[in-house]
Symmetry: C2
C-alpha cells in the first residue's frame, strides 16, 4: 500500500486562524478554525504549533504529512527572516519562522496572505491552471497577490503587491498618508468611513452602505459609484502593468458587493491598455475565505 | 587559440536603427547607425538583414558571431509570432521573425524596446548586477521594462509594461482614450502639447518648455511641476506594485529634464508604500541611447 502525501495549511488572520490538512489533490482531511490568540507572541506561536500538532494527529494512518505552509496578514521578510503583522499582538519584526521551527516536526514555509490567495485561486479557484494572475484583495485594507509565469512575485524586500498605495488621484489627501490613496478611497473601511456621516460609523458600516444602495438610497449609490471608479482604475493599472490572464477579486467588500464587478470591468476597459483590457478576465474569487487556506497548503506542497 | 564569442545587437527605432557587434563582456567591436527604412516591410526587413550581414562581415577573424538580438518599438507577440509597430511602415501584425530568419544565418531573438532597455541597464548601466529593476522610458510615449528576479516580465500577451496607460486622475479626459492617462499627462509629446499654447507647437516643443523653465518662465515651470507630479505618481505605483531595487529613468524627456529626478523622488516617497519607497533607488539611465542596443545584445547572449 502506498502512503498518501498531505500537508498542513494554516491561515492566520487578525481575528481567526484556520488550519487544515490537505492531500496533494486539494482534498481536505481535517479542518479547524479558532479565534486568533492575541495575548502575546509566545501565545500566538504556541497556538499555531498546537494547531499543526492537532492536524498531524488527526491524519489517517496511510497519510504522510510532509510539510506545513503558514500565511500571515502582514509582511513576511524572507531576507531578514522576520514577520511584521500589525493586527497580531507583538508581531513586530518577529523571527516567527525560527520560533515556530523549534516547535514543529515539519518543513515549514511562511508567506504573506496575499501570496496565499493568488496561489489558492490559481490552484483550485477562479484562475485554476492559469499562470499570469493577480488576486486583488479588498477588505479592511487593499493588497494584491501577483503571479507571473506561475511564480508568485515577492519583490526585492517581499513588499510587492502593496497596491493599497496606488496613487490614483493627483489631489493628495491626508488619509492617503496613513494607508495609501487606493486603500483610502476603496477599502471596506473606507466605504464605511465614506458612509458614516449618513449611516453612522463603526463596524459593519460598509455593509450598511451596500444595503442602503440596494434599497435605492441615492447617497449610498453615489458612494459606491465612486468606489467602483477607483476599483476600476486600480484594476486597470494592474492590467496595463502586468498584462495578466485574469484578475480575481476577493476580500470582504466583494462578499457584500459582488454586483460591483460589472462596473469594475467597464472602468477597466476605459482606462487600461486596450489589448490587455480586451484579453484579461476579471472574475470574483471562487474560494472566498478558503483561498488563503488552500493557498497555504499549495505553498507547502511546492516547498516539499 | 580560443575563439571569442560575439553577438549582433540591433535597435530598430521609428527614425533610426542602430546595429552593433558585441563581445560577451559588452565590448563593442563594430557599430553603425542608419535612418530606418520606411518604404515597405520588405525594405525595412532587408535593411535589418543587411545590417546584420555587415556586422558579421566586420567581425575579426578570432570572433564567432553566435546570434542576433533585435529590439523593436512596438508589440512583439511571442505567441502569434508577429510584430506590431505603428511607427514603422507596414509593421502591422507582421511575422517579422519568420521573414528575417530566412535572410539571416544566425539564431535570432526579437523583443520589445522596453525589454531591451531594462536588460541593458541591468547588464552594464545604472542597475548593473541588480535583479529587480524597472526601466521607465519617457519619450514620445511612456512604457516600462520590468525585470523580476533577473527575468524580464512579458505578461500573458507580451503587453506587460504598458504603463503609459496608468490611470492617475479620476477625472477622465479625452486625450486619455488615445494614449492612456499617464502618457497624456507626462510624455514628451504631452509636455510639448501642454506648452504649445505658450511656446508654439510642433517638434521640439517639449525642449522649449524645459528651456523656458530653466530661464525662469513661471508658466513653463508650472507645466513641469504638473509633469513631475504625474511622473512621481507613476513611479510610486511601480514601486508599490513591484517593490523593485531600482527604477531607472530614461528616454528623451530625461535627456532634457534630468533635473526632474529630485521632484520625482520626493513625489514617490509621498505616494508609495513607505518601506518600498525607502528601499528603492531612483536613478537616471547611465546608458542613454545605448541602453536598447546593449540590451538587444544581452538578449541575444541569453538566447545562445
Amino acid at each position: 500500500m502506498t502512503n498518501r502525501r498531505a500537508v498542513v495549511g494554516l491561515d492566520v488572520g487578525g481575528t481567526k486562524t484556520a488550519c487544515g490538512l490537505f492531500l496533494d489533490n486539494g482534498e481536505a482531511l481535517y479542518h479547524k478554525t479558532v479565534p486568533t490568540s492575541q495575548e502575546s507572541p509566545a501565545a500566538s506561536i504556541g497556538q499555531i504549533a498546537s494547531l499543526i500538532d492537532e492536524a498531524i494527529a488527526a491524519s489517517p494512518k496511510d497519510v504522510v504529512v510532509a510539510g506545513a505552509g503558514v500565511i500571515v496578514p502582514g509582511w513576511v521578510n524572507h531576507k531578514a527572516h522576520t514577520v511584521w503583522a500589525p493586527n497580531i499582538e507583538g508581531w513586530d519584526h518577529l523571527p516567527l519562522r525560527q520560533m515556530l521551527e523549534k516547535q514543529i516536526p515539519l518543513p515549514l514555509i511562511l508567506e504573506s496572505d496575499r501570496c496565499g490567495y493568488v496561489k489558492g485561486e490559481a490552484w483550485l479557484g477562479a484562475a485554476r491552471g492559469l499562470h499570469d494572475v493577480v488576486f486583488l484583495a479588498v477588505g479592511t485594507g487593499i493588497g494584491a497577490g501577483i503571479m507571473i509565469d506561475g511564480q508568485v512575485v515577492h519583490g526585492h524586500d517581499d513588499l510587492a503587491g502593496a497596491v493599497g498605495w496606488l496613487a490614483l488621484n493627483p489631489s493628495f489627501q491626508g488619509a492617503y498618508r496613513q494607508m495609501g490613496c487606493f486603500e483610502a478611497e476603496a477599502s471596506g473601511n473606507s466605504i464605511g468611513r465614506k458612509g458614516s456621516s449618513i449611516f453612522g460609523g463603526e463596524a459593519g458600516a460598509a455593509r450598511r452602505v451596500f444595503e442602503a444602495a440596494d434599497a435605492g438610497d441615492l447617497c449610498a449609490q453615489g458612494i459606491l459609484e465612486e468606489v467602483v471608479a477607483y476599483l476600476g482604475m486600480g484594476v486597470a493599472n494592474l492590467v496595463s502593468t502586468l498584462n495578466p490572464e485574469m484578475v480575481v477579486l476577493g476580500g470582504g467588500v466583494f462578499q457584500s458587493g459582488s454586483s460591483l464587478i460589472e462596473g469594475i470591468r467597464r472602468e477597466c476597459v476605459r482606462w487600461a491598455q486596450p489589448f490587455a483590457a480586451e484579453r484579461v478576465r476579471i472574475e470574483l474569487s471562487l474560494l472566498g475565505e478558503q483561498a488563503g487556506l488552500l493557498g497555504a497548503a499549495r505553498i507547502a506542497l511546492d516547498n516539499v
